[in-house]
């Protein structure tokens, strides 16, 4: 437990000590929200129509692009190798890193959502749904992502490969995520979408640490 906490705390400390990285990610998230209107034109009705989709896309891309941070540095400087001899199991270590990653990379995005909502002309109710949907769906996103990040960490230029690898797998999350926001799509569909999203999250969070740990072990051969 002490060792588990020490990983968690260290990763949070490393992330917050590079505050610039966190700010960058939030800015990237917001910028996607800004370039959409700029690229497709400032028509307000059109924007309101596509707003839930745009916010989920922004969160989706930002989370996927942040994946690389999860293992890259620890791999490059040899920390991951050294962690294999720790007093707790390697799977537990990966799990701790996953939690730290959600707290330092995803939570800030969710906190920044209202700003984006304002610019996209969203009302308060939809904003609430959006936040709930993101909170329930993102754990699944980064759990899948962790596997991708683990598999690709040994590639010298990892930047985009993990997102591309993981994106098709995570499309359901995007679909249910957006459905859980859109009102007027029939009675109950919203709630159902949210439930499914939650179920996906629970299952993936439980299983992916094993897959990621295995991938990390293999990649270091």
């Amino acid at each position: 437990m002490k060792a588990f906490l020490s990983i968690l705390l260290r990763d949070i400390k490393l992330a917050t000590s590079s505050f610039g990285d966190m700010l960058t990610l939030v800015l990237f998230f917001i910028m996607i929200g800004v370039i959409v209107p700029i690229a497709i034109g400032p028509d307000k009705d059109l924007l309101a129509l596509i707003a839930p989709g745009v916010i989920w896309i922004a969160a989706f891309l930002s989370s996927l692009l942040a994946l690389d941070k999860m293992f890259r540095q620890d791999f490059d400087d040899g920390s991951l190798l050294a962690m294999r001899h720790a007093s707790i199991s390697f799977e537990a270590i990966v799990f701790a890193k996953l939690i730290a990653h959600w707290l330092t990379s995803i939570l800030p995005l969710i906190i920044a959502t209202p700003m984006l909502a304002l610019m996209l002309n969203m009302n308060a109710q939809i904003l609430t749904y959006t936040i709930i949907s993101l909170t329930v769906g993102t754990p699944a996103l980064i759990s899948f992502g962790a596997v991708g990040a683990a598999i690709t960490v040994s590639l010298r230029r990892g930047g985009l490969i993990a997102p591309v690898l993981i994106l098709p797998l995570t499309l359901p999350i995007l679909i249910f995520g957006v459905s859980a926001i859109k009102t007027g799509t029939g009675v109950g569909t919203q709630g159902t979408a949210l439930l499914i999203l939650g179920a996906i999250s629970l299952v993936t969070v439980a299983f992916t640490p094993f897959a990621s740990a295995l991938a990390l072990k293999l990649t270091q051969e």
Binding site: K2, A3, R10, S17, L81, A82, R84, S87
Partner: protein, 219 residues
Amino acid sequence: MPNKEAYSSQQINVSKLSLIRSERLILSDVNFSVKSGKAIFLRGDNGVGKTSLLMAIAGYLHIGAGEISWRTDNDNEEENSLIDNLHFIAHQTAIKPTLSLKDNLMFWCTLYGGAPEKVIDALKTVGLSHAIDFEAGLLSAGQKKRLSLARLLVANRALWLLDEPTSSLDREGDKLVANLIDNHLERGGIAIIATHLDLNIKNAKTFILTKTNQHGEIA
């Protein structure tokens, strides 16, 4: 030296080991064994396979043929596996540049289940006592190496695998490494050291890897 408790008596055996990397046979028929209180120097030309051998012992490489076994008197099942009883100091330093020296080492100490009191002592032992609260990113090459050697002192593992532990170190640093190893052996530890240098260690044998198979292909 901070820690003087002895390790339980143990032994590592490498027998008939062959290693394959990227479909090339790197090493074949490697046999040696070391037991508590002894060290072994791996020597050989560049590219002969010293680093690969250490990695195989640490469990990072798939073993082509042969066996690496670990025996210990301690019958506690949990502590019995090789992977939990070794520490590998590689070329990579596993140092976080934004954390202070102390935080860097404290993390590894906790992770390996070592005693937190040892951290400061360890930094002193490797000659970094003046820089305990410095950010590790500002260290020179040799200072980084010293910091990564300090991990050995907090981890309390019986088997040390050291890949060129003296690289980047000054003369005094070479002596430091020899001292660390000597002390480790006295406590009943084991060390396997890949090096090109002559280190002055009492209980050490030399194992020379030869080039027979270099760049050979497997049929």
